[in-house]
Each structure stands twice: as C-alpha cells, then as structure tokens.
Assembly symmetry: C2
Homo-oligomer: 337 residues x 2
DNA sequence: ACCGGATGAGTTATCGTTAACGTAATTTGA
DNA sequence: TCAAATTACGTTAACGATAACTCATCCGGT
C-alpha cells in the first residue's frame, strides 16, 4: 500500500532501454523482433522499474480482457465453491481471471449482474442461472458473445450448456428406495423455479410410474437446510405416513433429517432419506445421508473448457451431460445391515 | 451469445443524437451540461442502440476500475464465502465489482495472484492471507495502493486490517472448559503458519496460565476436517488422557469428533470439544459443537467499508478488532444438563 | 556491383472514454 | 442596458498499449 508512485508505463521502460515502445511491447510479449542484446536491455529495464503491463490498456486495444464472469445464485451454498474452483483451475492455466458474482436476491438482479459483466468486457460468462424464467433468459443471453449455462439450457445460438442428468439420478434413487421396500414417497422438491427441480421430479415420476406408483406428496421449498426442515415438518405433520423422502439436495435432506429428529421419527427405521449433490455435510450428520453425487468440480472444469473453446471459436459440443452417482449411506440402510 | 455485433460506442450514440461524444458522456454520467431536450434525445439514442459503456476504456482514462480483488485461501472452506458475501454487499452498493481469487496451493501463488490483481488495475484488495510469511508480505503489499488484510497485520503504511480477537476467544473457551471441570487440555492448533493459530494458542496459554495450568499437548494440523481427524487420532492414541480438546476451527473440531467416535471415546462424556467460527456444520453434527462464533459476514462488510475509505482517502482506523462469542453446545455439556 | 529478402527497429493510428479547456449563446443584475 | 456570469455544447489531447506499416541495414548469390 504505497504512496503515490505514478504507474510505470511501457514508455518508461522504452526510455530507460533506449528503444521505442513498440520494441518493448514486442519483446515483453515474446514476439521477437529484437536482437538478443536489445532484448536483454529491455528485460533488465522492465525488471529494474518493476514494470507491470496495464491490463486495461492492453484489453482496450486487443479487444480481449482475459477475464471471465461467473454467476452463481449463492456462493454460501457448498455446491458452488467447488464449481468455481473447477472453473478457476482451467481458467488459470490459460491466463484467464475470474470475476465471481453472487446473486442471492431476485431475477432482476441476475440480469443486472449479467449486464455489468458484459460492460466489464468479460470474454465469456459461466452462468449458474437459478431463478430467471426461461423466456427472460434469451434477450439477456443475446447481449453476450460467449456463454455457458450450468444446469440450464437455451437455444443453440444463444448459449451452450453443462448439465447434470438429474432425471437419471432420480431414477437411480427411486430404484434404490424401491429395492429397500419403500412404497409411499414424499418429494421435497426444492424451488419451483429451478430447472433441476423439475428434472428431478420428472425422473422420480417416471421411475415410480414404471412400477405403477405415484408420489404421495410433492412440496416445493427453498434449497436450504431451513427450507428442507420446514417442508419435511409440514409433510410429516399431516399424519400421512411415508416410507421415504426424496429431497432436492443434501441441504434440504439435512433439514428433513432434523425435522424427523424433532418429531421422533427414526431415520432410516421409519423413513428413508435421500438427497442430491453429495456435499461433505452428507457424511457428517447422523445417520449419514444417501446421496446422488454430482461431480461439481468437474462441472466447473467442463464449463470453463467449453467456454474457452467458444471464445477461441473452436468446435464445441452444444451440451455436455454429466452423470450423477448413487452413494448409499445410513439414511437408507438399516444400521444392522 | 450473439454473432458479431460490433460494439456500440459513445460515438454511435452521439451520431444518432446529433451531438458530440463529450455531450453524450456528460449526460450519461449525470454531469449535466445539456438541455433537458438534448438529454432526452441522448438517452433515447443510447436506449435505442442498447449502448453499454466500455468499462475498460473508462477505467483507462479515469484511472479507476471500480473493481476490487478478494484473495482467499480456499473458497470451499465455509468460512470464506460469508466474508465474500459481506464484502460484496457493500461493494455492490458503491458500484464496485469483485474479482475473487482462490489460492489453495503455495505462498508463491499468493504473491502471483496479488500481482495479477494489481496488473488488472483493481482499485483495492482484500487479502485473507494465509500462508505467506510476514517478511515476504511487505514487498508485495508495497506494490498496491489500497489493501485491507483479514486476520493479519502489517506496518501501518502498508495495509490496514480487520482481525478477530482470537486470543479473547481462546480465553472465553478456556474459562468455559475450566468451569465444567476440565484440567487436562489438548490443543489441535491448526496450521503453524497461520496468524490465527498463534493468536489462539497465546490466548489458550495465557488463560490456562492464570490458573497455573499448561496445555498437555499441542499439535499443528491442516485447517480441515481431515486435518482435525488425523491430529486428534494421533493425540488420543498416545494413551494420554484429555478432558478437553481445543480445536483451531469447527472443521478440525468435527474431524476430532469423528476421531473420538472411531476410538469409542464419548463426547462430551470423556472429552469435551470446542471449535472456532460457528459454521453451520457445528450445529448439524451429533453432538453439536461448542464454538467461538466469529462474525464472518461482518468481517467482509467491515473490510470492504474500510477499503472504500482508503480508496477515497477518507480517514480510516488502522485496525478493526471484532469479538468472537462463545456458543455453548452439546460437545461441552453433558446431555442431561 | 546489384537485387531480393531477412532482420531489427521506428512511426502512425487507433481501441472507447473522459479531462481540460474553449466558445458561442443566453441569462442575470444593478 | 451592457458587462459579467452562466449555460450548452464542441475540440483536442490524452489514458497505456498494440496492429499494421515503413524504413534502414546487412547478407548472400550471381
């Protein structure tokens, strides 16, 4: 946190090395065009002055900011930091910097943030869009050049996607629950506006339907512990009996677990519980929670890799589908087993 | 993700509105200097062309990027997303955008990231520095204008700080443990290179010393569940008996809890457990974990507020100390109580 | 000697925006 | 009523970097 050093420019380096700006630019960008001796003089001068190129000026001229925007609904949700890390690992190795934006509040805010990133001249955006309705998505997407959506889709000319096959996950989960004898199902379905919520629900209905069963109850809720707790409490308080609760994610499953505990309902003895995402927490509560593991880090990596392809106008798949994996734990297995 | 629209510039708007660029610039920045009628014409033109100012060009000229860098050791650690959110809430309301950088690996990488942020022309940096040694910190800080450190300090001319009074927290924790009868203490101290680890350790030693006691064992470890697990296992396997384990943070405390569970040691019956940070997880494990709550969101808010003061050359305190709060839970209280 | 082509380096013109200054036209005040 | 202040704009020149071009110089081959 130094005082007032005026920034060191290319000009300064050029002056000290006794050459023109262009020569310095060429050398420092390893584009040759100078004798070995001149190169050394320039590098020494840059070192001595502690020259740091001004990324803004560079971007302005080159029309590339080497900056990527990442929009997540809520970075406090353990689902997203992993995605960010995955994306960052790829970005870093290609010289890109990430701008993280958290949404939290409204759909309006989502569009607003997108707009701001575009104004910031990001080269691309990874958008884990949560609450914006599909029809509102298109006009926003049209304002940016390169966008990868996570767990959401759009017209091919507007954006590409990395999605998890939640329907498959739901089927795996349901089959597992059927196998352990469950017949009466409650679905704690997560936010009604979420793409993933409907994907899961469809999978659940389909898998149950194949056995001539339908969910006994479906309740939407916030994708949080609190939301799961409230939803489960309200479901269980109605007096109806359930063999299993299928939860939107592990957070809601933990919430449901707490609701059961409060009501004196044994998990998995009375009710089996299943979640999605396989966050750490799923293995830390008692009983541990059976979950459909989603490769979060991989989502981030893939999304960024896909985005870089788009930016560089290399061919890229329109959509990448990642498979969830069933991880059977205590919440669906009698402890004696 | 549209095709190839060439960007709309001020020039275009000026042309459509039939005025000069400067007039457009003034109007769109609400600096007046145009009649109401001209203003309307300009705003209409901007709207019609869907004009978005180019933030890079603006920054280049104005020498303000309205961008802040945030460096965290590991965004997957639930401690940091909250700080980010706090910082973002303040930043947003002042028109700033945040660039999040994750460190994870080495101290070198920390300096490298700092450098990159400076090159990006960020207006300031919030640095949750973890592993960089103090003497290496100074030269790096000197390259930036405005820096706020979190849980770390530096010379007044280099950076200001927001810190948690971990020593106080440690004292509160120790007093509580003494009050419930603990006499033999193990300290799972976290990373040896961490500022906070030593602050806590000093507090523990001081508080115990006041009663003529010293910790029976001190073991440094990674600030993760895994680290806590390993450390606790090794401590407890030595045969020595402990009444209480004081853990670096809640993650290590959870790790310690798992180690106890594996060894058949009852918590809190045989050993009491205390952590720091009050992350959600602390209330989700069984037993719940007594913790020294740290106002994470508030750290982020304060750090950003302080940073904005520095940037705007308003007077700001050199150091802000936030107090932790003891939250007594199951890991230190016999369940019958 | 002379020409063609590397090679090393400088010139010029932007990128999109704003600071600083300039200049008419209009309003104000005593 | 007329100078002084204000309003409404326009001009010019950067901010720091790079693309694209130009221009010497040098070297070998014929």
């Amino acid at each position: 946190m130094a005082q007032n050093e005026s920034p060191v420019t290319l000009e300064d380096v050029a002056h000290l090395a006794g050459v023109s700006r262009m020569t310095v630019s060429r050398v420092l960008n390893n584009r040759g065009g100078a004798s070995d001796e001149t190169q050394k003089r320039i590098r020494d001068a840059a070192e001595k002055l502690n020259y740091r190129p001004n990324a803004m000026a560079r971007s302005l001229k080159s029309r590339r900011s080497y900056t990527i925007g990442v929009i997540v609904p809520d970075i406090s949700n353990p689902f997203f930091p992993e995605i960010f890390r995955g994306a960052e690992s790829v970005a870093q190795s290609h010289g890109y910097t990430l701008i993280l934006s958290n949404v939290v509040e409204s759909a309006d805010r989502e569009a607003e943030i997108f707009d701001k990133l575009v104004a910031q001249q990001v080269d691309g955006i990874i958008w884990c869009s949560a609450r914006m309705p599909s029809d509102a998505l298109a006009p926003v997407l049209a304002t940016a050049q390169s966008v990868v959506l996570v767990n959401r889709e759009a017209a091919p000319d507007l954006a590409r996607s990395v999605v998890v096959d939640y329907a498959l996950g739901a089927r795996l989960g349901v089959d597992h629950l059927l196998a352990i004898g469950a017949r009466r199902f409650g679905v704690i379905a997560g936010p009604e506006w979420a793409f993933g919520a409907h994907a899961r629900l469809d999978g659940v209905k389909e898998a149950l339907g194949a056995h001539g069963i339908a969910p006994n109850a479906i309740l939407f809720c916030d994708p949080t512990i609190e939301g799961g707790n409230t939803a489960a409490a309200s479901l269980l308080a109605q007096g109806e009996r359930f063999d299993a609760l299928i939860c939107y994610n592990d957070l809601t499953a933990v919430g449901a677990l707490m609701a059961c505990r409060n009501l004196g309902i044994d998990v998995p003895g009375d009710v089996a519980l299943i979640g999605f995402d396989d966050i750490d927490l799923a293995q830390l509560v008692t009983p541990t929670i059976t979950s459909l593991g989603v490769p979060r880090y991989e989502i981030g990596r893939s999304a960024m890799a896909m985005l870089l392809k788009i930016i560089n106008r290399e061919p890229a798949e329109q959509k990448l589908v990642l498979q969830p994996k069933l991880l059977v734990r205590g919440s669906t297995v009698r402890s004696s087993a």
